[in-house]
Protein backbone atom coordinates (compact mmCIF):
# COMPACT_ATOMS: atom_id res chain seq x y z
CA UNK A 1 0.00 0.00 0.00
CA UNK A 2 1.27 3.45 -0.77
CA UNK A 3 1.03 6.23 1.77
CA UNK A 4 0.34 9.88 1.08
CA UNK A 5 2.63 12.50 2.58
CA UNK A 6 -0.40 13.78 4.51
CA UNK A 7 -0.75 10.41 6.21
CA UNK A 8 2.93 10.31 7.08
CA UNK A 9 2.69 13.85 8.47
CA UNK A 10 -0.34 12.87 10.52
CA UNK A 11 1.69 10.00 11.92
CA UNK A 12 4.54 12.35 12.85
CA UNK A 13 1.99 14.63 14.50
CA UNK A 14 0.43 11.81 16.52
CA UNK A 15 -2.88 12.18 14.71
CA UNK A 16 -3.38 8.66 13.36
CA UNK A 17 -5.75 6.32 15.13
CA UNK A 18 -4.17 3.22 16.69
CA UNK A 19 -5.07 0.87 13.82
CA UNK A 20 -3.68 3.16 11.13
CA UNK A 21 -0.62 3.79 13.24
CA UNK A 22 0.07 0.11 13.74
CA UNK A 23 -0.38 -0.58 10.03
CA UNK A 24 2.00 2.19 9.10
CA UNK A 25 4.58 1.07 11.64
CA UNK A 26 4.46 -2.44 10.21
CA UNK A 27 4.89 -1.04 6.72
CA UNK A 28 7.80 1.10 7.86
CA UNK A 29 9.52 -1.91 9.36
CA UNK A 30 9.37 -3.61 5.99
CA UNK A 31 10.21 -0.58 3.89
CA UNK A 32 13.22 1.56 4.79
CA UNK A 33 12.26 4.12 2.15
CA UNK A 34 8.93 4.66 3.85
CA UNK A 35 10.59 4.87 7.24
CA UNK A 36 12.91 7.50 5.83
CA UNK A 37 10.02 9.59 4.56
CA UNK A 38 8.48 9.50 8.04
CA UNK A 39 11.81 10.32 9.65
CA UNK A 40 12.02 13.43 7.48
CA UNK A 41 8.77 14.74 8.95
CA UNK A 42 9.83 13.86 12.45
CA UNK A 43 13.17 15.57 11.93
CA UNK A 44 11.46 18.77 10.81
CA UNK A 45 9.36 18.80 13.96
CA UNK A 46 12.47 18.32 16.06
CA UNK A 47 14.34 21.00 14.18
CA UNK A 48 11.59 23.57 14.68
CA UNK A 49 11.32 22.79 18.36
CA UNK A 50 15.07 23.00 18.79
CA UNK A 51 15.07 26.42 17.15
CA UNK A 52 12.20 27.89 19.17
CA UNK A 53 12.31 26.09 22.50
CA UNK A 54 15.12 28.26 23.87
CA UNK A 55 12.52 31.06 24.04
CA UNK A 56 10.91 29.14 26.90
CA UNK A 57 14.06 29.53 28.96
CA UNK A 58 14.46 33.25 28.47
CA UNK A 59 13.70 35.44 31.45
CA UNK A 60 10.27 36.98 31.06
CA UNK A 61 10.45 40.64 30.12
CA UNK A 62 9.41 42.90 32.93
CA UNK A 63 6.95 44.82 30.79
CA UNK A 64 5.03 41.64 30.00
CA UNK A 65 4.83 40.70 33.63
CA UNK A 66 3.60 44.18 34.42
CA UNK A 67 0.93 43.91 31.74
CA UNK A 68 -0.28 40.66 33.17
CA UNK A 69 -0.11 41.67 36.79
CA UNK A 70 -1.51 45.13 36.33
CA UNK A 71 0.13 48.38 37.25
CA UNK A 72 -0.35 47.80 40.95
CA UNK A 73 1.80 44.70 40.92
CA UNK A 74 4.89 44.73 43.06
CA UNK A 75 8.03 45.19 41.09
CA UNK A 76 10.53 42.57 41.97
CA UNK A 77 14.16 42.85 41.12
CA UNK A 78 14.88 41.37 37.74
CA UNK A 79 16.13 38.08 38.94
CA UNK A 80 16.63 35.29 36.52
CA UNK A 81 15.73 31.78 37.41
CA UNK A 82 16.21 29.37 34.55
CA UNK A 83 13.03 27.54 33.66
CA UNK A 84 14.82 24.31 33.00
CA UNK A 85 15.90 23.02 36.34
CA UNK A 86 17.95 19.88 36.29
CA UNK A 87 16.55 17.46 38.85
CA UNK A 88 13.69 19.74 39.74
CA UNK A 89 13.07 19.65 43.44
CA UNK A 90 9.58 19.23 44.79
CA UNK A 91 8.69 22.84 45.39
CA UNK A 92 7.27 23.80 48.66
CA UNK A 93 4.70 26.56 48.86
CA UNK A 94 7.02 29.16 50.24
CA UNK A 95 9.41 28.43 47.38
CA UNK A 96 6.68 28.58 44.79
CA UNK A 97 5.43 31.78 46.35
CA UNK A 98 8.88 33.23 46.09
CA UNK A 99 9.13 32.22 42.48
CA UNK A 100 5.77 33.72 41.66
CA UNK A 101 6.72 36.81 43.55
CA UNK A 102 9.89 37.10 41.56
CA UNK A 103 7.59 36.85 38.57
CA UNK A 104 9.92 34.66 36.67
CA UNK A 105 8.12 31.39 36.91
CA UNK A 106 4.46 31.43 37.61
CA UNK A 107 2.56 28.42 38.43
CA UNK A 108 -0.94 28.43 38.98
CA UNK A 109 -4.56 28.30 38.38
CA UNK A 110 -7.53 28.34 40.53
CA UNK A 111 -8.32 28.37 44.17
CA UNK A 112 -5.95 25.60 45.18
CA UNK A 113 -3.23 27.77 43.94
CA UNK A 114 -4.36 30.98 45.51
CA UNK A 115 -5.24 29.39 48.79
CA UNK A 116 -3.06 26.35 48.71
CA UNK A 117 -3.66 23.63 51.22
CA UNK A 118 -0.74 22.24 53.11
CA UNK A 119 -0.16 19.75 50.32
CA UNK A 120 1.05 22.40 47.92
CA UNK A 121 -0.12 23.87 44.66
CA UNK A 122 -2.11 21.65 42.36
CA UNK A 123 -0.59 23.11 39.26
CA UNK A 124 3.03 23.86 38.58
CA UNK A 125 4.79 24.72 35.38
CA UNK A 126 8.01 23.31 34.11
CA UNK A 127 9.53 24.16 30.77
CA UNK A 128 6.33 25.87 29.84
CA UNK A 129 4.19 22.85 30.44
CA UNK A 130 1.58 22.59 33.14
CA UNK A 131 2.19 19.72 35.50
CA UNK A 132 0.30 18.41 38.47
CA UNK A 133 1.90 19.38 41.76
CA UNK A 134 1.41 18.79 45.44
CA UNK A 135 -1.71 16.98 46.55
CA UNK A 136 -2.92 16.55 42.99
CA UNK A 137 0.28 14.85 41.86
CA UNK A 138 0.21 12.61 44.90
CA UNK A 139 -3.40 11.63 44.34
CA UNK A 140 -2.76 10.91 40.66
CA UNK A 141 0.13 8.65 41.56
CA UNK A 142 -1.34 6.94 44.59
CA UNK A 143 -5.11 6.91 44.52
CA UNK A 144 -7.33 4.46 42.67
CA UNK A 145 -10.53 5.42 40.90
CA UNK A 146 -11.88 2.05 41.92
CA UNK A 147 -11.19 2.63 45.59
CA UNK A 148 -11.47 6.27 46.49
CA UNK A 149 -9.73 7.72 49.45
CA UNK A 150 -12.22 9.40 51.77
CA UNK A 151 -11.39 12.97 52.54
CA UNK A 152 -8.91 13.35 49.70
CA UNK A 153 -9.05 16.78 48.07
CA UNK A 154 -8.83 15.03 44.72
CA UNK A 155 -11.37 12.70 43.20
CA UNK A 156 -9.97 10.45 40.50
CA UNK A 157 -12.56 9.89 37.77
CA UNK A 158 -11.28 7.30 35.35
CA UNK A 159 -7.90 5.85 34.44
CA UNK A 160 -7.21 4.89 30.86
CA UNK A 161 -4.55 4.33 28.28
CA UNK A 162 -4.04 7.11 25.77
CA UNK A 163 -3.53 6.41 22.10
CA UNK A 164 0.20 6.72 22.51
CA UNK A 165 0.11 3.95 25.11
CA UNK A 166 0.71 6.16 28.14
CA UNK A 167 -1.54 6.30 31.17
CA UNK A 168 -3.90 9.17 31.75
CA UNK A 169 -6.39 9.92 34.50
CA UNK A 170 -9.25 12.33 34.85
CA UNK A 171 -9.76 14.08 38.13
CA UNK A 172 -11.80 16.65 39.95
CA UNK A 173 -10.59 18.87 42.72
CA UNK A 174 -13.05 19.10 45.55
CA UNK A 175 -12.86 22.75 46.26
CA UNK A 176 -15.26 25.60 46.41
CA UNK A 177 -14.58 26.38 42.78
CA UNK A 178 -14.02 22.90 41.56
CA UNK A 179 -11.52 22.29 38.82
CA UNK A 180 -11.60 19.21 36.66
CA UNK A 181 -8.98 17.96 34.27
CA UNK A 182 -7.08 15.17 32.64
CA UNK A 183 -3.45 14.40 33.36
CA UNK A 184 -1.15 12.01 31.50
CA UNK A 185 1.95 10.37 32.87
CA UNK A 186 5.03 11.69 31.18
CA UNK A 187 8.36 10.49 32.55
CA UNK A 188 8.34 11.45 36.19
CA UNK A 189 5.40 13.81 36.16
CA UNK A 190 1.72 14.20 35.38
CA UNK A 191 1.26 16.56 32.50
CA UNK A 192 -2.06 18.40 32.55
CA UNK A 193 -3.78 17.99 29.22
CA UNK A 194 -6.71 20.13 30.17
CA UNK A 195 -7.89 21.93 33.25
CA UNK A 196 -11.22 23.67 33.51
CA UNK A 197 -13.65 24.90 36.06
CA UNK A 198 -16.52 22.53 36.76
CA UNK A 199 -19.99 23.89 36.31
CA UNK A 200 -21.73 24.61 39.58
CA UNK A 201 -23.39 21.54 40.96
CA UNK A 202 -25.56 20.83 43.95
CA UNK A 203 -23.68 19.51 46.94
CA UNK A 204 -23.67 15.75 47.00
CA UNK A 205 -25.97 14.41 49.66
CA UNK A 206 -23.56 12.77 52.01
CA UNK A 207 -21.82 10.76 49.35
CA UNK A 208 -19.60 11.07 46.33
CA UNK A 209 -20.77 12.37 43.05
CA UNK A 210 -20.75 9.63 40.49
CA UNK A 211 -17.50 9.80 38.56
CA UNK A 212 -17.48 11.84 35.37
CA UNK A 213 -20.80 13.56 35.92
CA UNK A 214 -20.87 17.22 35.14
CA UNK A 215 -17.39 17.27 33.71
CA UNK A 216 -16.75 20.53 31.91
CA UNK A 217 -17.25 19.90 28.18
CA UNK A 218 -13.62 20.67 27.35
CA UNK A 219 -12.50 18.02 29.82
CA UNK A 220 -14.99 15.47 28.56
CA UNK A 221 -13.86 16.20 25.01
CA UNK A 222 -10.20 15.81 25.83
CA UNK A 223 -10.99 12.57 27.58
CA UNK A 224 -12.72 11.23 24.48
CA UNK A 225 -9.94 12.38 22.20
CA UNK A 226 -7.15 10.95 24.28
CA UNK A 227 -8.38 7.61 25.22
CA UNK A 228 -7.69 4.55 23.17
CA UNK A 229 -10.26 2.22 24.73
CA UNK A 230 -12.28 1.51 27.79
CA UNK A 231 -11.34 2.80 31.20
CA UNK A 232 -9.05 0.53 33.18
CA UNK A 233 -10.87 -1.81 35.52
CA UNK A 234 -9.89 -2.09 39.16
CA UNK A 235 -7.21 -4.75 38.65
CA UNK A 236 -5.67 -3.11 35.58
CA UNK A 237 -5.59 0.17 37.45
CA UNK A 238 -3.90 -1.36 40.47
CA UNK A 239 -1.36 -3.05 38.18
CA UNK A 240 -0.60 0.23 36.43
CA UNK A 241 -0.06 1.91 39.77
CA UNK A 242 2.23 -0.91 40.87
CA UNK A 243 4.37 -0.25 37.79
CA UNK A 244 4.60 3.43 38.53
CA UNK A 245 2.26 4.27 35.63
CA UNK A 246 4.99 3.46 33.16
CA UNK A 247 3.70 2.50 29.77
Amino acid sequence: MSYSEETLMAYADGELDPAARAALEAAMAADPGLAQRVARHQALRARLRAALDPVLDEPLPQRLLESVRGAAAPRPAAKVIPLKRPAAPRWSWPQLGALAASLVLGALLGPLVLHPPAGGGAVITRDGEMLAGGALARALTEELASNRTPGSPVEIGVSFRARDGGYCRSFQLREEKALAGVACREHDAWRLEVLAQSPPQPPAAGGYRPAATALPPSVARTLDELRAGEALDASAEAAARAHGWER
Binding site: E5, E6, M9, A10, D13, G14, E15, R40, H41, L44, R45, R47, L48, R49, A50, A51, L52, D53, P54, V55, L56, D57, E58, L60, P61, R63, L64, L65, S67, V68, R69, G70, L83, A100, L103, G106, A107, L108, L109, G110, P111, V113, L114, V123, T125, G128, M130, K177, V194, L195, A196, Q197, P199, P200, P216, P217, S218, V219, E225
Partner: protein, 168 residues
Protein backbone atom coordinates in the same frame (compact mmCIF):
# COMPACT_ATOMS: atom_id res chain seq x y z
CA UNK B 1 -18.88 31.67 36.36
CA UNK B 2 -15.49 32.72 35.11
CA UNK B 3 -12.10 32.49 36.68
CA UNK B 4 -11.33 35.24 39.14
CA UNK B 5 -9.24 38.02 37.65
CA UNK B 6 -6.38 37.06 39.90
CA UNK B 7 -6.54 33.42 38.85
CA UNK B 8 -6.58 34.48 35.22
CA UNK B 9 -3.55 36.68 35.72
CA UNK B 10 -1.67 33.87 37.38
CA UNK B 11 -2.62 31.49 34.61
CA UNK B 12 -1.44 34.00 32.03
CA UNK B 13 1.92 34.32 33.74
CA UNK B 14 2.24 30.55 33.52
CA UNK B 15 1.41 30.66 29.83
CA UNK B 16 3.78 33.51 28.98
CA UNK B 17 6.76 31.36 27.99
CA UNK B 18 4.68 29.47 25.43
CA UNK B 19 2.97 32.61 24.18
CA UNK B 20 6.37 34.18 23.62
CA UNK B 21 7.56 31.11 21.73
CA UNK B 22 4.49 31.20 19.50
CA UNK B 23 4.84 34.94 18.94
CA UNK B 24 8.51 34.50 18.05
CA UNK B 25 7.60 31.95 15.41
CA UNK B 26 5.07 34.38 13.94
CA UNK B 27 6.90 37.65 14.26
CA UNK B 28 10.51 36.46 14.34
CA UNK B 29 11.83 39.70 15.75
CA UNK B 30 12.20 39.55 19.53
CA UNK B 31 10.70 42.96 20.21
CA UNK B 32 7.87 42.56 17.74
CA UNK B 33 7.07 39.21 19.29
CA UNK B 34 6.95 40.61 22.81
CA UNK B 35 4.86 43.56 21.63
CA UNK B 36 2.47 41.02 20.20
CA UNK B 37 2.26 39.08 23.45
CA UNK B 38 1.72 42.30 25.37
CA UNK B 39 -1.13 43.37 23.11
CA UNK B 40 -2.68 39.92 23.39
CA UNK B 41 -2.42 39.89 27.18
CA UNK B 42 -4.05 43.30 27.40
CA UNK B 43 -6.85 42.17 25.14
CA UNK B 44 -7.32 39.00 27.13
CA UNK B 45 -7.62 40.90 30.38
CA UNK B 46 -10.24 43.26 28.98
CA UNK B 47 -12.16 40.41 27.38
CA UNK B 48 -11.91 37.85 30.13
CA UNK B 49 -15.70 37.82 30.27
CA UNK B 50 -15.65 36.07 26.90
CA UNK B 51 -13.67 33.16 28.29
CA UNK B 52 -16.17 30.39 28.80
CA UNK B 53 -15.61 28.59 32.08
CA UNK B 54 -15.07 25.30 30.30
CA UNK B 55 -12.86 26.65 27.52
CA UNK B 56 -9.18 25.80 27.70
CA UNK B 57 -7.34 28.99 28.47
CA UNK B 58 -4.46 28.08 26.16
CA UNK B 59 -6.47 27.83 22.93
CA UNK B 60 -8.32 31.02 23.77
CA UNK B 61 -5.06 32.83 24.45
CA UNK B 62 -3.26 31.48 21.38
CA UNK B 63 -6.25 32.57 19.32
CA UNK B 64 -5.93 36.08 20.72
CA UNK B 65 -2.21 36.19 19.91
CA UNK B 66 -2.91 34.97 16.42
CA UNK B 67 -5.65 37.53 15.81
CA UNK B 68 -3.49 40.31 17.20
CA UNK B 69 -0.76 39.28 14.78
CA UNK B 70 -3.15 39.32 11.82
CA UNK B 71 -4.28 42.80 12.88
CA UNK B 72 -0.68 43.89 13.04
CA UNK B 73 0.06 42.52 9.58
CA UNK B 74 -2.99 44.24 8.20
CA UNK B 75 -1.83 47.48 9.74
CA UNK B 76 1.60 47.09 8.25
CA UNK B 77 0.37 46.02 4.87
CA UNK B 78 0.63 42.57 3.51
CA UNK B 79 4.19 42.70 2.37
CA UNK B 80 5.50 43.97 5.62
CA UNK B 81 7.23 40.84 6.78
CA UNK B 82 10.43 42.36 5.54
CA UNK B 83 12.10 43.92 8.49
CA UNK B 84 14.07 47.09 8.68
CA UNK B 85 17.82 46.50 8.51
CA UNK B 86 18.53 47.61 12.06
CA UNK B 87 15.96 45.17 13.37
CA UNK B 88 17.54 42.37 11.40
CA UNK B 89 20.94 43.31 12.72
CA UNK B 90 19.67 43.20 16.25
CA UNK B 91 18.08 39.87 15.72
CA UNK B 92 21.27 38.45 14.29
CA UNK B 93 23.00 39.70 17.40
CA UNK B 94 20.49 37.96 19.62
CA UNK B 95 20.81 34.72 17.76
CA UNK B 96 24.57 34.60 17.47
CA UNK B 97 24.84 35.36 21.15
CA UNK B 98 23.47 31.91 21.79
CA UNK B 99 25.49 30.55 18.91
CA UNK B 100 22.36 29.51 17.07
CA UNK B 101 22.96 29.86 13.38
CA UNK B 102 20.70 26.86 13.00
CA UNK B 103 17.91 28.50 14.98
CA UNK B 104 18.28 31.59 12.85
CA UNK B 105 18.02 29.58 9.64
CA UNK B 106 14.85 27.94 10.90
CA UNK B 107 13.31 31.25 11.98
CA UNK B 108 14.17 32.83 8.65
CA UNK B 109 12.57 29.93 6.82
CA UNK B 110 9.44 30.26 8.96
CA UNK B 111 9.31 33.97 8.24
CA UNK B 112 9.35 33.31 4.52
CA UNK B 113 6.26 31.11 4.71
CA UNK B 114 2.89 32.58 3.80
CA UNK B 115 1.21 33.70 7.00
CA UNK B 116 -1.45 31.00 7.15
CA UNK B 117 1.13 28.26 6.68
CA UNK B 118 3.42 29.75 9.28
CA UNK B 119 0.72 29.79 11.95
CA UNK B 120 -0.36 26.23 11.14
CA UNK B 121 3.22 25.02 11.45
CA UNK B 122 3.79 26.97 14.66
CA UNK B 123 0.64 25.70 16.34
CA UNK B 124 1.04 22.03 15.47
CA UNK B 125 4.76 21.41 15.07
CA UNK B 126 6.08 23.81 17.69
CA UNK B 127 3.24 24.29 20.16
CA UNK B 128 2.05 20.70 19.93
CA UNK B 129 -1.64 21.44 19.43
CA UNK B 130 -3.74 18.71 17.87
CA UNK B 131 -5.15 19.33 14.40
CA UNK B 132 -8.51 19.91 15.98
CA UNK B 133 -7.24 22.46 18.46
CA UNK B 134 -5.14 24.25 15.86
CA UNK B 135 -8.07 24.42 13.45
CA UNK B 136 -10.19 25.85 16.25
CA UNK B 137 -7.58 28.47 17.08
CA UNK B 138 -7.26 29.44 13.40
CA UNK B 139 -11.03 29.33 12.96
CA UNK B 140 -10.80 27.09 9.90
CA UNK B 141 -12.01 23.56 9.11
CA UNK B 142 -9.56 20.75 9.87
CA UNK B 143 -9.08 20.04 6.16
CA UNK B 144 -7.90 23.61 5.64
CA UNK B 145 -5.53 23.33 8.56
CA UNK B 146 -4.01 20.07 7.31
CA UNK B 147 -3.50 21.36 3.80
CA UNK B 148 -1.83 24.55 5.06
CA UNK B 149 0.29 22.42 7.33
CA UNK B 150 1.32 20.12 4.48
CA UNK B 151 2.24 23.01 2.21
CA UNK B 152 4.08 24.80 4.97
CA UNK B 153 6.05 21.71 5.80
CA UNK B 154 7.09 21.03 2.24
CA UNK B 155 8.17 24.64 1.77
CA UNK B 156 10.16 24.55 5.00
CA UNK B 157 11.83 21.28 4.07
CA UNK B 158 12.88 22.75 0.77
CA UNK B 159 14.24 25.95 2.28
CA UNK B 160 16.05 24.15 5.07
CA UNK B 161 17.50 21.50 2.78
CA UNK B 162 18.96 24.28 0.69
CA UNK B 163 20.41 26.00 3.71
CA UNK B 164 21.53 22.65 5.12
CA UNK B 165 25.03 24.01 5.45
CA UNK B 166 23.83 26.01 8.43
CA UNK B 167 23.49 22.84 10.43
CA UNK B 168 27.17 22.07 10.39
Amino acid sequence: MSASPQALREALVALLPRLRRFARALARDVHDADDLVQIAVERALTRSGQLRPDAPLSSWMFGIVRNAWLDELRARGRRARVFAPEESAERVGDASQGGHAEALAVQDALARLPEEQCEAVALVLIEGFSYKEAAHIMEVPIGTLTSRLARGREALQEMLDESGGARR
